[in-house]
């Protein structure tokens, strides 16, 4: 990590002693998943540019708006570029009728998106943090999700996409770290998508925007700047409802999404080095509707499954995966399915290092299934 190395070398060079607090931070920075990002290979051929997650998302929105003249991007602070800079430059390029601030009301923003989409325009709404999507829950569950169904398909709001940053960021506490996919995975009619990195995000977001159903796109904010990859310059899509086997293996299946994939990559390495265990790592990518087949096929092969997510354990999405897979792969399972999740507490600030399902907790789960 650049910042840790720089501080350590300055300290050595000048002889200035670092406080124990700072030394601890540096020591644990290596276990902060956001600081270790393994670039993914580009999902399509063609020229690429180095982009972080923010830039990749911006590229997707830019392409969508260039391609579709009804597309509008809106939300709180979107006009000046967004608090995470995802919409920088778009207002200058497309004008303030297509890139604009809304008043501060999430229920208003999501409902506005539903109405705009119903009119036939493409609505790309931004909610500043997934933690704040809750005031819009009624609009999401009672309106967006049921819009097409309740009218026999005469109307639809499929042209809406809602983006929101989710997940741990190191210092977010209760209200800047939440994972909310569990709430929305339970609502028929919605789609929920979570990318693991920049090139995946661009392709998945373009799919989400063009998908004719209301899609909720949760972006791992911890990776906004930390994840850097070669991202294809072209207009490309990655299909929704398709999980991806990132690493093939024979002994244990690991399933996760978003930031957790970075943790699980390290777990694969540790399991291989320490236990000679070859893990098969799968990124779910779409939470709803999810790709049961790919996971089931893997677990029927390995007989062992570990699912990990930051969201709290009880009734988290891992519970849905476990239930389904024990039904699909019962006779192939060699151990109970393990879930490694956030504890059943609100997301705590100072206790974050103990809260997250980090590589050591995940490795322990691997050991449990191997040794069962």
């Amino acid at each position: 990590m650049a910042w840790t190395n720089r501080i350590l070398s300055v300290s050595r060079g000048t002889g200035i002693r670092l406080s124990s607090v700072l030394l601890n931070e540096i020591r644990h920075a290596s276990s902060n998943p956001s600081s270790i990002f393994t670039p993914n290979p580009p999902p399509v051929e063609g020229p690429t540019s180095e982009k972080n997650l923010v830039e990749a998302i911006r590229s997707a929105i830019d392409i969508a708006m260039d391609d579709d003249h009804t597309a509008a991007v809106f939300g709180e602070d979107v006009a000046f570029g967004g608090v995470f800079r995802c919409t920088v430059g778009l207002k200058e390029k497309y004008g303030q009728e297509r890139v604009f601030n809304t008043p501060l009301s999430e229920q208003g923003i999501v409902a506005f998106a539903i109405g705009l989409a119903a009119q036939g325009s493409t609505a790309i709404a931004e909610i500043q943090f997934a933690d704040y999507i809750h005031p819009a829950f009624d609009q999401v569950v009672n309106e967006a999700a049921k819009f097409r169904y309740r009218c026999g398909g005469e109307f639809s709001c499929g042209r809406m996409t809602v983006r929101a940053p989710y997940g741990a960021v190191g210092h977010g506490g209760h209200y800047h770290s939440q994972s909310v996919e569990g709430f929305y995975a339970h609502v028929p009619g919605l789609k929920v998508v979570i990318p693991r990195g920049p090139s995946q995000a661009k392709g998945l977001l373009l799919s989400a925007i063009r998908d004719d159903n209301p899609v909720f796109f949760f972006e791992p904010k911890g990776l906004y700047r930390a994840a850097v990859e070669q991202v294809p310059d072209s207009d490309y899509t990655i299909p929704l409802s398709q999980a991806e086997v990132i690493t093939e293996g024979t002994d244990v299946t690991l399933v996760g999404y978003g930031t957790q994939i970075q943790v699980l990559r390290q777990v694969c390495q540790m399991a291989n080095d320490e236990l000679k265990v070859r893990c098969e790592l799968i990124d779910l990518r779409t939470i709803l509707p999810w790709d049961v087949e790919t996971i089931a096929k893997s677990v029927c092969k390995t007989g062992k499954l570990v699912v990990a997510h930051e969201a709290p354990l009880t009734a988290g999405f891992a519970a849905e995966i476990c239930s389904t897979i024990q039904n699909e792969c019962f006779l192939n399972l060699e151990a109970p399915i393990q879930r490694v999740c956030g504890w059943d507490t609100p997301f705590p600030l100072v206790f974050e290092p103990f809260y997250l399902p980090d590589k050591y907790r995940c490795l322990e789960a691997v050991k449990r299934v191997i040794n069962y």
């Binding site: 009301s105 208003g108 409902a111 705009l116 009119q119 309740r150 026999g152």
Partner: protein, 444 residues
């Protein structure tokens, strides 16, 4: 500042001299709100703050009272006996249009009575009547263009009927049969029609409201000359969604007519328990939106107010709020009994003296285009048509069972198809315990 003030004065006088609206003289055009905004400037003095407003050294000068000195007046041009009170406000509707309005109001009233009784007899599962509010429906609907888009709450059947939703359409929806647009997935009175530009009703209150500015914004962007009208009640107006909707519409310049049917009750809750201020109309000022309070039972005043609001929306891309004062003569729904909480003397008073159809009828009689003979003929004909439509609809089967799994997404997910197969397998074994014959055959 002097130049800015001069600009404002010029703007106002040009607005006031615009006589193109029938009621331009009666309704004060507002100042362009954007000129008077609490924004920022690099000017301040002892008199004027850089935030825009003037300073005052007396607190009472900066104090807006909780209650106005008098309630906002109600605009009406037809008195209780059908006499025009102000001939310059008479929209001078054609006889054909007036007769059409009246016949529709009577049809709706008779149909409501019929369907209410049908629910009581168990023929349909649920119903909501519109008694007393027919004026708010037809008066506003007649002033709109058929391509103006309607968002409604549930007590606006007349708007849909005016557009062309037939008795058959209503009956099919109430019977939840396979001819209904919604395929029977929702309760009765959750009607809608894409062809008639009327969004489907959903039960949660006020959720349609903040969608209206979104739709309207899209219309505006596309260069359309149409607007959106959004109906809601005095109770729904208290929801957070109502606040969000009006603020978004005014701030983003969306052509929406917000039409509040203030009928005095939200189920059993009277307006005294609903709000402390002077109703809904005054909230417009808070949002920077023009607002009109109108007699909802005066069909001509409703027509005029809606015509004006529509013009503002379409020409100036500004939303307008209309509060239609009316009275709910029936119970909230077939699951409610108004006698438990409503003063039946009050109900009778409104029915006898302020019924919208009656006031219009007296106006038509005065114009000598209606009489009791025509009234009898109309009642007989409507009764016959309703009965026939009812009998026809009750015989139609429900949608095929596989429609339960369609339209969740544009294309059913793998899991939904698997679940559908699971249901078929289940019905193969246990089908005799299910009312399969009531449903049209599935593709399976």
């Amino acid at each position: 500042i002097n130049m800015a003030m001069a600009g404002i004065v010029r703007h106002v006088s040009s607005l006031l001299s615009n006589k193109s609206s029938i009621i331009a003289g009666c309704i004060k055009r507002p100042l362009n709100i954007r000129l008077l905004h609490t924004s920022f400037s690099l000017f301040s003095s002892d008199d004027v703050s850089p935030r825009g407003p003037a300073y005052t050294t007396s607190m009472s000068g900066a104090c807006i009272p909780a209650n106005p000195e008098k309630l906002c007046p109600i605009y009406r041009i037809l008195d209780n006996n059908g006499k025009i009170l102000n001939t310059s406000e008479d929209p001078k509707l054609s006889n054909d249009l007036l007769l059409n309005l009246y016949e529709n109001m009577v049809t709706l009233q008779i149909m409501d009575q019929y369907l209410y009784r049908a629910q009581r007899m168990g023929a349909i599962s649920f119903y909501m009547t519109n008694f007393g509010e027919e004026g708010t429906h037809f008066g506003s609907a007649a002033a709109l263009d058929p391509n103006d888009v309607v968002y409604a709450q549930y007590r606006e059947a007349g708007v849909l009927m005016w557009r062309g939703f037939s008795l058959d359409d209503i009956m099919n929806q109430c019977f939840s049969n396979m001819l209904e647009g919604g395929k029977g997935r929702q309760m009765p009175v959750h009607y809608g029609s894409k062809a008639l530009n009327f969004h489907y009703i959903s039960s949660p209150l006020a959720t349609q409201m903040p969608q209206a500015p979104g739709y309207a914004f899209g219309l505006k962007q596309s260069g359309s000359k149409n607007c959106v009208i959004c109906y809601f009640g005095d109770g729904a107006a208290q929801e957070g969604d109502a606040h969000a909707s009006m603020n978004f519409a005014a701030t983003l310049g969306c052509p929406v007519i917000f039409m509040c049917r203030n009928n005095g009750y939200a189920i059993s809750t009277p307006i005294e328990d609903q709000y402390a201020g002077d109703g809904i109309v005054r909230r417009g000022l808070g949002y920077g939106m023009e607002a009109i309070r109108v007699d909802g039972n005066d069909i001509l005043a409703m027509y005029n107010a809606t015509t004006y609001a529509r013009k503002v929306c379409v020409e100036e891309h500004r939303p307008v709020l209309i509060e239609a004062m009316t009275y709910r003569l029936g119970s909230h729904s077939t699951s409610d009994d108004q006698e438990q909480y409503q003063d039946m003397e009050q109900v009778e008073y409104w029915r006898r003296n302020l019924y919208p159809a009656t006031r219009l009828k007296l106006y038509l009689i005065e114009k000598e285009i209606w009489d009791e003979e025509k009234e009898e003929e109309l009642a007989k004909r409507v009764d016959r048509e309703i009965k026939a439509s009812f009998q026809k609809a009750r015989k139609v089967k429900k949608s095929p069972i596989d429609e339960m799994f369609n339209d969740v997404y544009d294309v059913p997910s793998k899991r939904l198809l698997q679940q559908q197969q699971e249901l078929w397998n289940h019905l193969d074994k246990y089908g005799q315990h299910y009312p399969i014959d009531n449903y049209a055959p599935s593709k399976k």
